[in-house]
Symmetry: C3
Subunit: 146 residues, 3 copies
């Protein structure tokens, strides 16, 4: 029995993100808005994207060259048009997008403290589009706390 | 204070999964059953597997060639019997299974909406067996919501 | 309505971890202490580290050679000083540390059962330092349950 701990409440939100093809879209502002609307001040946020060819990640947010280097590293690790891949109905970036999504993940759990996402100074939350063409992506967030 | 948000309740379940060696086992049905039994309709599900040589992932669920391509990609990325690996007491797939598990992860957080796992149309939840031989795997799920 | 399920409570903690440069620090003891202090017995723990050049992972905890093999595998996968990387202000391990952090993640969700982290027999929770030099790292844990 832990009667002295706060009772937990929950709030959910979801939003659309328009991507411009392969690259990163920072989500911090949209997540902060959702958190503020929930009124929750302590707890956790679970963020999820309903796709298999983009991903969610925490990345250094100060130097844009970090994201360029990431893009170059993954383009070399998972090559577009690699003959290893047989699933290519949507083009040479089809299967690489699935692999990149699986290597980096579609869900994140973030701490909430003092009504803010308790991220580190250099951490940003990003959606990483892995398809070459622009897409519309859905992101949902569940805030659990008090 | 957020008195207007719903109070959160919690339910846990766990189940065994028999694998047939390296390959994928879809978990959606077992997770849906656990969620239905909990009676929760909004919130989040945390899924976890208690092992270090398999993993949990979200993968495209329509074309089985995607999983075949994934298997081929990872077999090349993390080679069985690679002399780089010294931990090989259980065979050439021993250490590669640990590396593959770490690259893809053993926990997932999924949103719950309208009493269903709020997955995307093409998303399936899979256990990925990384050992060559069949195994019995434990998966636990924690549903948090209202 | 699920009035028969337990109401959920929440507790948060955070602690500092001093690393000795590249390598692994087991977190199980600190997490167990935080869980015991919360008094919660069933539910989930969310663990997060506020950095972009270390990561959190579940790894085999019996044979230290597994972690040595992991280090060797990642050193080869993401090469220090690779001319592919342009973000190198903090040295040849700067961008590789970001890539390794993204490949292995900064958040974990763990189940809690009978007042214990419900890990598998061979699972340990580790902070993986990816920078060559020692660092002070912050880890936060959110326990949700009853």
């Amino acid at each position: 029995m832990t009667p002295s701990l706060p009772t937990t409440r929950i709030a959910t939100t979801s939003f659309e993100v328009r991507t411009r093809g392969r690259g990163f879209v920072e989500l911090d502002d949209k997540l902060r808005t959702g958190l503020a609307e929930s009124g929750l001040r302590e707890g956790a946020a679970q963020v999820f994207t309903q796709h298999t060819s983009c991903s969610l990640l925490i990345c250094e947010n100060a130097d844009p060259v970090v994201r360029e280097d990431l893009e170059r590293f993954f383009a070399k690790l998972v090559r577009d048009g690699d003959p290893l891949f047989r699933h290519d109905a949507e083009g040479p970036d089809d299967m690489p997008a699935h692999v990149r999504s699986i290597l980096t993940g579609v869900s994140l759990s973030l701490p909430v403290h003092n009504g803010e996402l308790a991220l580190g100074t250099w951490q940003g939350v990003y959606l990483w589009e892995h398809r070459a063409a622009p897409q519309m992506r859905t992101v949902s967030a569940t805030f659990i706390g008090y």
